[in-house]
Structure formats: structure tokens, C-alpha cells
Amino acid sequence: MSTTPVNTADQPQIGTARVKRGMAEQLKGGVIMDVVNAEQAKIAEDAGAVAVMALERVPADIRKDGGVARMSDPDMIDGIISAVSIPVMAKSRIGHFVEAQVLQALGVDYIDESEVLTPADEVNHSDKWAFTTPFVCGATNLGEALRRIAEGAAMIRSKGEAGTGNVVEAVRHMRQINGDIRRLATLDENELYVAAKNLQAPYELVKEVAQLGKLPVVLFSAGGVATPADAALMMQLGAEGVFVGSGIFKSGDPAKRAAAVVKATTFFDDPKVIADVSRGLGEAMVGINCDTLPESERYANRGW
């Protein structure tokens, strides 16, 4: 014990769990768009995106080009940060905490520890508590979501197959996560210990989810959203917002499609609005059927 007690409550504190998780709360009901340059970032902002994800290649191109996918060039991230006034996110490789340190130093608003990039560690994810910048991580089920939250993630997203334009995997993950939460909420308190063991997640977090009936952080959908109806589908399945990757800038009319996805996300339960905004959007991105993807090319298998 020190002799002079410090009343930390009166001192401004940065990087707390509340400001990290609270930042994601502000993004709810919104669309976060992948952009590869300042021009795309402006289009996204003008269309009503709540944030942009700065990356060098959209997932569809990462799939096509192959090779090791890494954190983006700092110059490119700086260019996007200075082009728009909305929050800017960027991706680090799973377990590559130095890429994450660099992104924090660049001043990005959120770090996505992403399976879309080539993992740097096949066992450990980054210790996200060590950062001031908040993290979003992907999850295919509740246990995976809670393991990421235990590591300090302040936001969770589904791990739908990025760059395919096929929403099927995002739907699977959203149903799985929300189904797992509903099942947990029906358990007796005595049963939560075994539930925690089966979920491979900390008991305290499992108990918290059982009591809240939801994750303690915001849950977005990501992966394969290509149309306004896809975005609304994810919202109706319980997503609190949507990431759109290749779906916008790999389509015929990105500005129009981006604005349409934003509107459909807000009015996700109004088919008339979704019909209206879906008219005349031009070509959607060409999709890939996920069941023809070899196991080695499935990003959802990365991370554990």
C-alpha cells in the first residue's frame, strides 16, 4: 500500500474496457466498409458508412493473388485516416502483436485481428489487453467469441468466408453464436461450470452471457455480404451491424451499392425499403460457392 491514496476516479483514464467496448456500441446499426485507398474511403463515408477498414487488397483479391497477406502499408493507412472523418480500422495478422503495435502507433481507431490475413501464430492470438486501441475479432461460435473476449477483444464479428460474396458461412456463424447464447440462458447455475468446460471459455464470462442473454460486447456480421438483402438478413438474424468487404468495391456501381447497404441495414425489418434500395444497383460481385472451396482456402478455419 502506498502512503498517499490516489483517487484514480478523478483522473481521466484512457484505454479502459468501457471506452473500448463503448466505441463499438457507437457503430451499432451501421455498416463498416473495406477500402483500399483514400478515394474509396470517401465514397464509403459519403454513402453513410460508420467506419472504414483500411486494407491493401480486398479479400476477393487476396484469394485470387495468393501468397502471404500482411498488415497494410502505413502510408496507405495514413492516407485513408487523413481522407475521412469517420473511424478507420485496420487488420493485423492473428498473433502478430507487432503489426498491432504499429497500427496503434498509426492511430487507427480499431484493430481487426483477422483470419483474412495469413496467421503469424498458429497457437496464440495477440494479448489485446496490452493495447489502448480496441480490437475486433472473428468467431464461428460462442466458445470462440468468449476466448477472444477473454484475450481482450472489445467487439466480435462472424467469420463468414470473406471475398466469396456468399453469405452462407456468416449465417451459419450468427445462428451458431446466438443459438449457443439462447441455450446457455436456459441452464441452471450449477450447469454453467460444465458449459464453460464444453465451450472452452472462462466460467465468469459464461456466467455473464447466461445472465445478460447476449455477449458483453457488440456482435457484428462479417463475410460474404454482397447485397442490401444480405445485410438485412444478418441484422434480422441478430447482428448489431455489418462489415462489407469485397461486396461493394467489386460491384458495378460501388457508390450506389454502398448507400443501399447502409439504408437496408437501418431498415432491415422493412422489406419495402430493402426492395426500393435494391433496384438498379448494377452487377453484384461474382460469387464463389463455399462448398467448392478447398479446406486450405477456408479462412474461418484460421484462429481457434
Binding site: 457507437q26 460508420v50 492511430g107
Partner: protein, 205 residues
């Protein structure tokens, strides 16, 4: 509007709508989300939540909400805005997106993201004029501040000067309009919402 208990809407175009609905319910108010002009017409007061102000402004224009919002504000409807909501209530904004429109109503100039990016987001105790008890716990997320106010605007809270920085206005009231830079809806302390609910009740009398 109605003679019974006032109904408070929460503008649900984007943002932390759920947290405001919960905070209002815990302050014993009737609250519901509002996205359309006909839903706005049915409420007696409105909360504009935290979120991304450029997105909210964009959607308000696209779905015909901006004009009815301005008309209701001009007609005296009580409105509380937190963070992005404060920006929406400002007559003038700095560092906004080009052509970014606001509802307006409070004679103030608000600087967007004035406290910095997410890495500078912080929590701090705030003395809030007119609230009993402990200081309010302010959660500031990429928060705006009030750069200047007109004569009719009452300053309710300021962040004290620290480390050579100037003190900053972070809560104001003008008539039936209330705005805070910070997010009381994220703290579980519902005194700011209770303050607004009282303001709404007084306006309904």
C-alpha cells in the same frame, strides 16, 4: 401532444439506441425507437443517441426525417443529444464532413472528434450543474466539445483544464434542448436521463 405520461422517442437511424432505451426506462420514462416521420409525430420528446453523426445526418436526409425534426425542434419539442446527438443539435459544426447537415436548435458551435481519435477516448468525473450527489462519470468516445455558445445557452458541465489544456464545455442546455459530449447511457448512472425526463414532464405541463 398527449395528456397522459409523455412518450420519449430514441432516434434509431444508427447508434447506441438500445442503451438509451434502457436508461430512459430506468428513469421511469416511456421510450420507443423512432425511424420514420410518422413515428416522430407520435412522440412528445426525443433522444438523439451516440453514433456516427455523418451516417445519422445522411440517413435523416434520405428518409425525410431532417425537415420534420427541425420543425419539431422549432415547435419546442424537448430533445436530448449525446455525442453524435450533440453534433446533430448544433447550429454550427467544425471538422464535419463537407456539406454535413444538422438538425440544429442549440445556439452553439461544436467541434467534431475534438478530443481526438479512439486512442484518446477517456473516462473522467464531471461536475454537472443541477444534479445531486457525486460527479457524473463521463465516458468520452472520439467526443466532440462545444467551442462556443450563444447568450441563451446555459453551460451545465465543463471538463476542467489539465496539463496546460483549456477547460472545455461538455454539457449545455438551451430551453428544452439538452446536449452532452459524453455518454451517460454507457455508465448505468441514469441521473442525466432522469434530468431530461423531468425537463420533458415540465414541458408537457
Amino acid at each position: 401532444m398527449s395528456s397522459s405520461t409523455p412518450v420519449i422517442g430514441v432516434l434509431a437511424l444508427q447508434g447506441d439506441v438500445r442503451e438509451h432505451l434502457v436508461a430512459l426506462a430506468e428513469a421511469d420514462a416511456l421510450a420507443r425507437p423512432v425511424r420514420r416521420p410518422e413515428e416522430l409525430a407520435e412522440v412528445d420528446a426525443l433522444v438523439i443517441p451516440g453514433g456516427e453523426s455523418t451516417t445519422m445526418s445522411n440517413l435523416a436526409l434520405a428518409f425525410g426525417m431532417m425537415t420534420p425534426l427541425r420543425e419539431r425542434v422549432a415547435a419546442g419539442m424537448p430533445v436530448y443529444g449525446s455525442c453524435a446527438g450533440m453534433i446533430m443539435l448544433a447550429e454550427k459544426i467544425l471538422d464535419g464532413r463537407e456539406d454535413q447537415q444538422t438538425v440544429g436548435g442549440i445556439d452553439m458551435t461544436v467541434r467534431r472528434n475534438a478530443f481526438g481519435r479512439q486512442n484518446e477516448s477517456f473516462e473522467s468525473a464531471i461536475e454537472f450543474k443541477g444534479l445531486q450527489g457525486d460527479p457524473v462519470h463521463g465516458v468520452f468516445i472520439r467526443a466532440p466539445w462545444v467551442e462556443s455558445v450563444g447568450a441563451g445557452v446555459e453551460v451545465l458541465a465543463e471538463l476542467p483544464a489539465a496539463d496546460g489544456a483549456e477547460s472545455r464545455i461538455v454539457a449545455v442546455r438551451q430551453g428544452n434542448l439538452l446536449a452532452t459530449s459524453f455518454h451517460p447511457e454507457l455508465t448505468g448512472d441514469h441521473r442525466v436521463h432522469a434530468y431530461f425526463v423531468q425537463l420533458v414532464a415540465a414541458a408537457a405541463r
